[in-house]
């Protein structure tokens, strides 16, 4: 075991946690499931902080509820809770599908949605689903709350719009509308426990063979997960046909800018991006 020693704080409530975070001398790295942090600390990818603030099991960060503004998911909700939630399976099924592919059975019981987002990896599996569900991130400090569109919250490679005194408290997701279909697809070297080479989510609607609405997001193809606005604008109103599917594939490939890294190459990721998005449109075509 190569972890350096640290100090820790155990707030019993969100209020207490925010108070700790408000002061430089008491603040620390928030830790919930720990599935990303401990691995990165141990391997030296991340430097260990002097202090951690344990937010695992804070009651205010739990729960999945429906409200007028959308489906509210606490930052401390685990992947297992999301994949098994009737509300999420009904209203944001692409997120339930994504959570079912995170790590393995144990990781899903441990890891949280807030942690997956705060880890801010371009390969974070929940990000594409949050993008197509037009998620809003609710962050809080002792000063009050801020609500930030998820697409703006992702600022760059491992960079999120979170101030040192703030905690992520919840996510507000827009439920799919009647008749909309959605899904998630992940490509990695193994079906479970693999970090994605490319993954994506979509939400779409078809009427009389024409696409009336289409939102699509991909991960691991840019510094952050991204929506494909050019493709979305082009596809709306298109009639689904074999030639149209070809064009969807090439347009999606062209719209992403992946890199070579240890998991895959830019060339392969571009090609797979096109195939994944084409597959989404094919699935939409099946339900006419």
């Amino acid at each position: 075991m190569s972890l350096e020693n640290i100090a820790c704080a155990f707030p019993g409530s969100l209020r207490e946690a925010l108070e700790l975070m408000s002061d430089e001398t008491t603040r620390g790295r928030p830790i919930a499931g720990g599935t990303d942090l401990i691995v990165q600390w141990e391997s030296g990818v991340l430097e260990m902080p002097a202090r951690v603030v344990n937010v695992k099991n804070l009651p205010e960060l739990k729960g999945i509820t429906r409200s007028d503004s959308g489906v509210v998911v606490g930052a401390g909700v685990t992947h297992a809770e999301l994949r098994n939630s009737d509300v999420i399976r009904e209203l944001v099924p692409c997120l339930a599908e994504a959570c079912a592919t995170v790590g393995g059975y144990q990781m899903q019981a441990q890891g949280t949605l807030g942690g997956n987002v705060a880890n801010a990896s371009p390969a974070g599996d929940t990000a594409p689903s949050l993008l197509v569900a037009d998620a809003t991130v609710v962050v809080e400090s002792v000063q009050g709350q801020r609500r930030i569109p998820f697409r703006d919250f992702l600022q760059g490679y491992r960079k999120i719009d979170l101030r040192p005194d703030e905690l992520i408290v919840s996510f507000i997701l827009q439920p799919r509308r009647e008749g909309c279909r959605e899904g998630f697809r992940k490509l990695g070297p193994r079906n479970a426990q693999a970090i994605s080479k490319v993954m994506g989510s979509y939400r779409g609607h078809v009427e009389n063979g024409k696409i009336t609405f289409f939102a699509v997001a991909l991960g691991s193809v840019a510094p952050t997960a991204v929506r494909l606005p050019k493709l979305e604008a082009w596809i709306t109103g298109q009639k689904i046909s074999p030639s149209m599917l070809e064009e969807v594939q090439s347009r999606a490939s062209d719209e992403v800018s992946p890199i070579d890294d240890i998991r895959s190459t830019a060339e392969y990721r571009k090609w797979v991006s096109g195939r994944i998005v084409r597959g989404f449109v094919e699935r939409l075509a099946e339900i006419q």
Binding site: M1, L3, I6, A192
Partner: protein, 164 residues
């Protein structure tokens, strides 16, 4: 050295009150402080599943949690598994792994068994695909998994019959 932190954790029904370093992993706490060495440590970075234990009934990797994060919670390790059934008998999962030869060297076995407890509670009649998915976070380098899957089926049947 950072200050020691007092924790109170119930393991296999027994309450332990200890002072630990904040960085101490739960897997090391179980093995070194409590001498419960049935929880195995394989990869130590969240891949192999050998260190799986139940934390408040959920199967988690004890190598990815600080001991201090488990304070106030209840843990079940492989040493407590047979106590879930009455008398001197083994737990049906233990029986089934023995009967079907679902292990060879046995290093990974405690982790498999602990993962399977909540899985079979949630899903008492799993398909082969569901079994394989649930076990995707546990690596076995000996068996090729065939007999492990057989063991899970046998245990599921036994647990269902036991529940009647």
């Amino acid at each position: 050295m950072a200050d020691l932190v007092a924790v109170s954790i119930t393991v296999n029904g027994k309450l332990y009150e200890k002072a630990v370093e904040p960085r101490l992993l739960l897997s090391d706490f179980l093995r070194h402080e409590l001498r419960l060495t049935g929880t195995h440590v394989g990869c130590e970075h969240g891949v192999c599943g050998a260190c799986t234990i139940l934390l408040d009934g959920k199967a988690v990797r004890s190598c990815l949690i600080f001991t201090i994060q488990a304070t106030g919670q209840e843990i079940l390790t492989i040493e407590g598994l047979a106590d879930l059934v009455e008398g001197p008998a083994w737990h049906p999962l233990q029986e089934a792994f023995r009967e079907t030869h679902g292990l060879q060297c046995g290093f990974c076995t405690p982790g498999f068994l602990m993962t399977l407890i909540p899985f079979l509670e949630e899903n008492p009649d799993p398909t082969e695909e569901e079994i394989r998915e649930a076990l995707s976070g546990n690596l076995c380098r000996c068996t090729g998994y065939q007999n492990i899957v057989k063991a899970v089926r046998m245990a599921a049947t036994a647990l269902k019959e036991g529940a009647k």
